[in-house]
């Protein structure tokens, strides 16, 4: 079973690339982030045409997440559903083939100590609470998303430059660790403890050609799924060519 995550940076602007990628990569499940459109504007028709069901939590202009799957996702939950008044469409979960799948778009955080940064740390605290409330560590859970946090020094192209910058501050990395401490494993890092691969490159300053990126898109697995993990990679090719998303898809393979 192949599960992928991709921040498409506008599902409408990326419609053709999305369809092409689905056809070539053939994931069983794809977690999408930054749809940047409402449910009404989501291209359900072309996704269906490509052979996928879609559970969507859209929002105008910003955010928006979805779970695409070859079999119909069930028990769809939109948002963290913790009673907090939060208008951002950043979280959706659904069950696909007996696995609970999450598609998450973590807040970016803007500047350190800005309101957005505070919201980001709080959002991570709420996410840990979501896991504690809804799941046991031995549930079958895969969480894919744009987490807007590089977990370790190896995950940024230049530690000196990233030191203290949003996406790489100690407080953010700690917040992510607190979530993982529930019992989640970073699929890519599990398979490749020492490999440096990035999933996001700024559109500006030729960051992609220079390969100056960061790894902020992750797939997390609960413990019972870790022994089934056989492959995980970043599809760097998808970042190339005309009008790419600034993020590349990340995918993993689970054996039966």
């Amino acid at each position: 079973m192949r599960i992928a995550t991709w921040n498409v940076n506008s599902v409408r602007a990326r419609q053709q690339r999305l369809v092409n990628w689905l056809k070539s990569a053939q994931p069983d499940v794809l977690c999408l982030q930054e749809l940047k459109c409402t449910d009404a504007d989501f291209p359900f028709d072309v996704v269906k045409e490509a052979g996928y069901f879609a559970a969507v939590h859209g929002q105008k202009t910003y955010n928006g997440v979805a779970i695409l799957a070859k079999t119909e996702p069930t028990d769809v939950i939109r948002g963290l559903s913790d009673g907090v008044d939060d208008t951002h469409a950043r979280f959706i979960s659904a069950t696909v083939n007996g696995i609970r799948v999450v598609s998450a778009y973590a807040p970016n955080g803007q500047q350190v100590d800005s309101p957005a940064y505070v919201y980001k740390l709080e959002w991570y605290r709420r996410l840990r609470n979501y896991l504690d409330t809804r799941h046991k560590p031995d549930d079958l859970v895969v969480m894919g998303g744009d987490w807007n946090i590089a977990p370790d020094p190896i995950d940024v192209y230049d530690v000196a430059q990233w030191e203290g910058q949003t996406l790489f501050t100690l407080r953010e990395r700690d917040a992510l660790q607190q979530v993982c401490a529930f019992g989640l494993t970073d699929a890519f890092r599990k398979l490749y403890p020492d490999v440096q691969k990035f999933s996001w490159w700024d559109y500006r300053m030729l960051m992609f050609p220079k390969n100056k990126g960061v790894r902020i898109d992750h797939l997390f697995l609960t413990a019972p799924l870790v022994p089934r993990l056989t492959a995980c990679d970043v599809d760097r090719e998808e970042r190339k060519g005309q009008q790419p998303s600034d993020h590349a898809p990340v995918w993993l393979e689970l054996k039966d």
Copy 2:
């Protein structure tokens, strides 16, 4: 020798369609209108890559005309060059294979009797003056362009609806006739006196699917070229599909 005219409605937005059309239609000369970009922003590289030289008279946002040709255009003149202070980039002429080629984007005219309408009639008067000053009726001249005038009742989809509307008022049609009276022949109408074909359809109101258009893009020939005219047509296919221009290309064939 194949000569074509096409209002591309932004040469940058239509870059890929332009290249595809050049490759399939293989005109020796293409007159372009509504480039909507400056000379600095004109995609010289992709045009060259497609096998064409380009003489360009660009303008930011509005207007902009060019002559593309498989052999290098010489003696390029930008504008009507009649001493009138006119900032609109609506006219360019150049010599290609011994033929003087004009690419013209006539003013639209907005509402009847508006300043734009007065400017349009005056522009046509200046154009006739340009011909009188620079040419003899037996020169080899081809003028392609978006003339924003439907010459005859057959050239609009509904005469009753178009009666008195800009593009079809008697004063505009007379202004165009005054230009043609210099000694120019409408290539399409010469070959097909009774055929109704359109070259422009409004983007709105499903005008193209309903084929409610007008013929305002024309190729005019001086007398010595008329006996050499073997074919002329509108490429209606180019108006179809995703992100078309609102105009279709018009082309003609001259035998040697």
